[in-house]
Symmetry: C2
Subunit: 800 residues, 2 copies
């Protein structure tokens, strides 16, 4: 059995490719970390550290902790771990002298131009995201059309003749083959492209560097993968991946270059830092939501709910612009595709259809019913999440090899086809085929002429169409048994599917499950003998059910309400949807967290929530900080710096810079903060004091040099420093952030947390009242405290 903590990874490539030796070092300092971590993780380096720090513990654990640990591979609660693998992003500008000089050189007009280019970039992000959504939509529609036509013809051929098992095999084979394509791409080429990508984007916006999450390659795999998954008939949607796609587009466009394609367009260089890039990624995610659901406002709120720490009016307005452009682009190109050029009425990938006229009204006495539906949604959602949690744990333990993952995906595809076929086969729910029927592929099967199999509208269709049918088909289009069976089977299929190594979203399956039981609920209500006309429209209950189920699974709040409202194109349902989502969230949260949060926890990501845990006023900065801290002198020997950076056991990313008043024995005082990435660039360009003196013409290091290296700074191992150079000195004055934020040691955890979270910090220096460095607070120091069942708990730190 594999060590589970090792395999809990969205991107297990690091381990895979590390074995084949083809990996190039990736990110700021991640290389030494993972290489250092691999040795101890053979033995399962899961250790608990106490109050203090994660620093210099490597030596200690190897001997005595080993026995204490017992058998780490048996640890069942991987979500009680906090991985040290993840780097943090830096949303605080590094205000060093170079930066300030540049800012001071800039005139007001320069700032205006920058602002305009931000708008241009957002427009581009929206446009490209819309195009991608359009491409996915058309590709899925065309390919799924071909598939369903082939199967339909086949079924019709064999319905009379007998031998429908051949149709079943054909269907299962087609599904498996298509899904295999997608799964191979994901499992072998880019594992990070698996799933919906929403947890990853949440983490990115939260400030965690997830390797390769915004690469071009990820986007390509994601787009192809999602087409295969949907066409392959899995219980998945193409909406979630749009959010990830939008984010990748944003990260790419805003940097004005592509490292993968080795093209640098020399534009938008100002945006090459975490602060700016994050803003654009927010816009990209919003544009993705907007394209997926035709919900520009919902997109903005999604970005803010998941990512924002500091609300900025102009930023929000730009995000909104990107969202609008995205939905508009999709709309426009789809209108051309549908030969209705200029008709801008299908704004999103999923179109719930219009709820108009009398069917939209609801009455006061229906509100308790909605609340009950919300509770059901919360319960079912919690069940879904718990099942998926167990399944994910199982997958982490046993299904971690790419070929196994592909096989599992193929199995699911085949089973989905088989189950669907069985359900359709044994269903005897025949409905008349009306003159204006909306069914794309009506299956007659054993029904009389002019009728179609009602179960097939739910199963033999893309999930988007099924949802729309459930919302809008005439009362009586489905009989209760059909809906009940459909709910049951689809629930388990969707649960099994989420977490497979394919690109796929969970929104649409959730909506579909909810719509099915919601409609069932509506039909049952209508059968209560009363003046029955008031419950007449089951479509309304389908919508409420869909909201309840989705809310119960993902637990999003405001943004989901707005997305649902925008997708239905009608604000009347705002209040019921809000009530339902709130109930679902409260009920669901009682049992288990939301699906995305579960998956984030399973990755042991140091995710910072909105507030510090409620009961954490007991803790102060002194207790949470990492200490002792490796400090550098303002004028430091190159050898010392190289040694510090090369020290694989500590692997710090930020170093307080101190200054010693010469001649005195007073303690050194804090005078700045410098990052590993900056030191690497300095070493690479050999910015040594002696060299600067000898070569007077030597070009002064500029901000551009740092930007060119961003974000894939080389590892320290790749930088060669000769023995002579080791004796040189480096002057950090110009490059360090001279005004880092500091807090006193007595600061309470919530206060530290607020400062850290609101400003998006990466390092927060803890200083004593003499302004000496006593510790450093980083993301993991804050993220490891959480409220458990028995009050405040501390997560273990793991090297994986």
């Amino acid at each position: 059995m594999a060590n589970i903590t090792k395999k809990v990874s969205w991107s297990s490539r690091a381990d895979e490719s590390g074995a084949t030796g083809e990996r190039t070092p990736l990110l700021n300092g991640s290389e030494p970390q993972s290489s250092s971590s691999r040795q101890p993780s053979e033995g399962g380096s899961v250790f608990q550290i106490g109050r203090l720090s994660t620093v210099d513990l490597e030596e200690e654990i190897t001997s005595d902790e080993e026995s204490l640990r017992g058998r780490p591979k048996e640890i069942p609660h991987t979500e009680k771990l906090l991985s040290l693998k993840y780097e943090s992003l830096d949303y605080d500008n590094i205000e060093n002298q170079l930066f300030l000089e540049e800012e001071r050189r800039m005139s007001y007009m320069n700032f205006r131009c920058l602002e305009i280019s931000r708008w241009v970039v957002c427009g581009l992000i929206g446009f490209l995201t819309g195009l991608i959504a359009c491409f996915i939509d058309i590709a899925v529609e065309q390919l799924a059309g071909i598939k369903y036509q082939v199967v339909k013809t086949n079924i019709e051929k064999f319905t009379e003749a007998g031998g429908l098992s051949i149709s079943l095999l054909l269907w299962a084979f087609l599904n498996s083959a298509i899904v295999m394509l997608g799964a191979i791409m994901v499992a072998f080429f880019e594992p990070i492209a698996a799933g919906s990508g929403i947890p990853q984007i949440k983490c990115y916006l939260n400030g965690i560097k997830i390797p390769r999450v915004v690469r071009l390659k990820t986007l390509v795999v994601k787009v192809c993968g999602v087409i295969c998954s949907v066409v392959g008939g899995l219980a998945v949607g193409k909406e979630g991946p749009m959010i990830h796609s939008g984010a990748v587009v944003a990260a790419g466009v805003s940097q004005g270059r592509s490292t993968s394609l080795k093209r640098d367009f020399k534009i938008f260089e100002y945006f090459r830092r975490d602060t700016e890039k994050r803003d654009f990624v927010s816009a990209g995610a919003a544009a993705g939501v907007s394209a997926a659901f035709g919900a520009p406002v919902g997109g903005v709120l999604f970005s803010l709910e998941e990512g924002a720490s500091f609300w900025n009016q102009m930023l929000t307005w730009r995000i909104f612009f990107a969202s609008m452009i995205s939905t508009f682009t999709l709309n426009f190109f789809l209108s051309i595709y549908h030969n209705k050029t200029g008709d801008l009425s299908s704004p999103g990938l999923i179109n719930f259809g219009r709820f108009q006229g009398d069917s939209v009204a609801y009455y006061l006495y229906e509100i308790p019913l909605f609340i009950v539906m919300g509770a059901i949604g919360g319960l079912l959602g919690a069940l879904f999440n718990i099942l998926n949690y167990w399944l994910t744990i199982f997958r982490i333990r046993y299904v971690h090899r790419p070929c196994l993952q592909v096989m599992e995906a193929m199995l699911v595809a085949a089973v989905t086809a088989a189950v669907s076929f069985t359900m359709i086969y044994f269903s005897n729910d025949c409905q008349p085929l009306g003159p204006e029927h909306n069914e794309e592929y009506p299956l007659q099967l054993f029904c009389a002429d002019g009728e179609y199999n009602s179960m097939a509208t739910a199963f033999f269709n893309t999930p988007e169409r099924s949802v729309r049918s459930l919302f809008h088909n005439q009362p009586g289009s489905y009989n209760p048994l059909t809906l009940g069976l459909f709910t049951l089977t689809y629930f388990f299929l969707a649960c099994w599917t989420y977490g497979l190594a394919v690109s796929a979203g969970v929104f649409i399956p959730s909506l579909l499950i909810g719509a099915a039981w919601g409609r069932l609920f509506g039909i049952l209500l209508a059968s209560i003998p009363s003046n029955g006309s008031i419950w007449a429209d089951p479509g309304k209950y389908a919508l409420i059910g869909a909201a309840a189920q989705l809310g119960g699974i993902v637990r999003m709040t405001l943004s989901l309400t707005v997305i649902m409202v925008e997708a239905t194109g009608n604000v009347t349902y705002g209040l019921p949807i809000m009530l339902v989502l709130m109930t679902a969230k409260i009920v669901g949260d009682y049992f288990v967290e939301g699906l995305y949060d579960i998956h984030i926890k399973l990755q042991s990501v140091p995710f910072l929530h909105w507030d510090a845990p409620a009961t954490s006023h007991w803790l102060t900065a002194r207790e949470v900080m990492s200490a002792p801290v490796t400090c550098l002198n303002r004028i430091e020997k190159v050898g010392t710096i190289v040694d510090t950076l090369s020290n694989t056991s500590t692997n710090h990313n930020g170093f307080p810079v101190v200054v010693q008043v010469s001649g005195t024995d007073e303690p050194a005082k804090l005078c700045g903060l410098i990052l590993r990435s900056q030191l690497i660039v300095l070493l690479k360009h050999k910015v040594f004091v002696e060299l600067a003196r000898s070569r007077l013409t030597h070009r002064k290091l500029q901000l551009k040099d740092f930007r060119d290296a961003y974000p894939r700074f080389p590892p320290i191992q790749s930088i060669h420093v000769s023995q002579d150079e080791r004796e040189c000195m480096m002057d950090l004055t110009e490059f360090m952030n001279a005004t880092p934020y500091t807090v006193p040691q007595e600061t309470s955890l919530p206060r530290v947390f607020k400062l850290f979270r609101a400003l998006g910090l990466r390092h927060l220096v803890v200083a004593d009242d003499e302004n000496r460095v006593v510790g450093l607070v980083t993301r993991k120091d804050l993220a490891r405290y959480h409220l458990g069942k028995h009050g405040l708990e501390e997560l273990q730190l793991a090297q994986t």
Copy 2:
């Protein structure tokens, strides 16, 4: 001529009542300030201070600045001043020992209960705000109905007989009388209730203490005043004041007591501090928007756009809850009033009516037209704002006595009636009275039988109904001349009306002006000879015009888009409305700021925008901070404290606490920060070290004592300290915030600004590298830098 800087005040009561001697001291430190400021302001104490500070300048200016100043009453640009009158709110928790002890005593269940009570409070806020909106709506409808019926009967009587001038007099008299009522209440009882209240709420949420803005009395005057204004036929709306009303409700409910009514319900005591109160006021403002426009999401976004600095998911969700409850309550009670109990289809005070069916479609080639309309809206909005700006300056100079204000309001009311009557009288735009006509009070006048005067539908009606008619009446209901004349007259009337001493909003008049010229635009388009059917619906252009005009005047962005979308009940127009608003904002911003910002600037309020001015990297904390700072020792003599607090020339509100290592001559080091309000409470309870020793049973001062005093802390003058007591010592250790945020002197202004704004600070200590206090950054130090035409400018500080 009065000194204009003295009179620029939302609440000129301070000056008025100060003269009559009836005023009680109001707020934390505002009393000594205004009393100290009155003496110099007799001579017009407008002075510019330099780079450094506003501290201890009183002595300097009296002599030599006098000559330098020239004649301050001639200063035309009052918006270049920054008033020192306004206090700041403190959105950073004061983490002293008492606070930490309380937090540590609280269990997880306590925190849960707190959270639940926050929800309850938000629900209550929504409910009460909805009720108030309902009351206003019904009162206006009833009273306006009576008025219009009386006038209509009178007009009909005299149309045949001749002598319509009597009708005119009757109409003008009725209007003036009703408006007089409202104006008297506002001008004599509560000047802060004038206008829409939106600028004041913006300031409150920004962190500025506006005296009396959230009092019960303000609410009562506001509600009665707005009813009078609307019934009095002024060109105003009742929507803006709802936002203020919601905020007052929130501030009242959340504190669990009413100081005005002298009732303390002993509940929600935990919420008695700025941090919590602000959150609830956000919710109240959102509930107000929600009730006004039936736009719960728009309400949330309004609150966030105007107020938020730190986005918090749970808070947003609660605000949304309050908004939803508010719109639901209004809806429910109005449905009872309209005898359609349980029909929840009229969510807001203003109902734009449903845009449904074919009329909602728009085509790609219409987008340039929309953008043109946006530009027109921006231009007209800028014109409106400039005119209103001049008018406001005029009013500040000449119309500052309450009786003059009442007379002006009456004059406007009479002129409005006269102009309306004249327009109707000379209009010959007769329209057939269809079977399902929507006109509430159709005036036949000189039209043939079965016809009505079209101009009268626009003028002889509440503005809300006029807007709806313009949106939805059949094509051909208005002729272009009617619309043109209406736009012209209403534009000037509305511009004259805004800023009167009556409670009134500018939303509806703006919408009405825009709808009129928008419809005109649509009609003119339709007259272009082409396949004319495509431009058939002028209602669509009326909507776009309304958005453009409103956007041009108030310059709100995201929230306004959402409000418009929610009010129309249709998301299809999202993109055009966004484009129009964006164009209007860009065009308008080129000329002048938004109306609310103009009025905020005219009040010289130290308003903090989202970011520091773009080109302010030149400045550092050393340059912007106030210095020298009055520091207190940790154990300080009572006499010193009393003297410091009584010093009217400095009037600081926050004092860094320092500690001197005894026996050494080292400089004193920063160890905390204490507020004036805290010191006042300590003095009031005589928390002196000697007393504590002598009376061992003395009750220890608790957080409750501070909460009971919040927010109206007594002034220092009201606290009697005997000569013996002056010799006692006070130990501040327990009460000071031991971990204030600090920045080094070299920190750049944008960095200081970001920290200050993101955390909602009131005082930020500037410390040197020995941790000694060198300065204090407060709101006014940051707010006085702004980008003018010639780069970065510094506002003058004025004592008004």
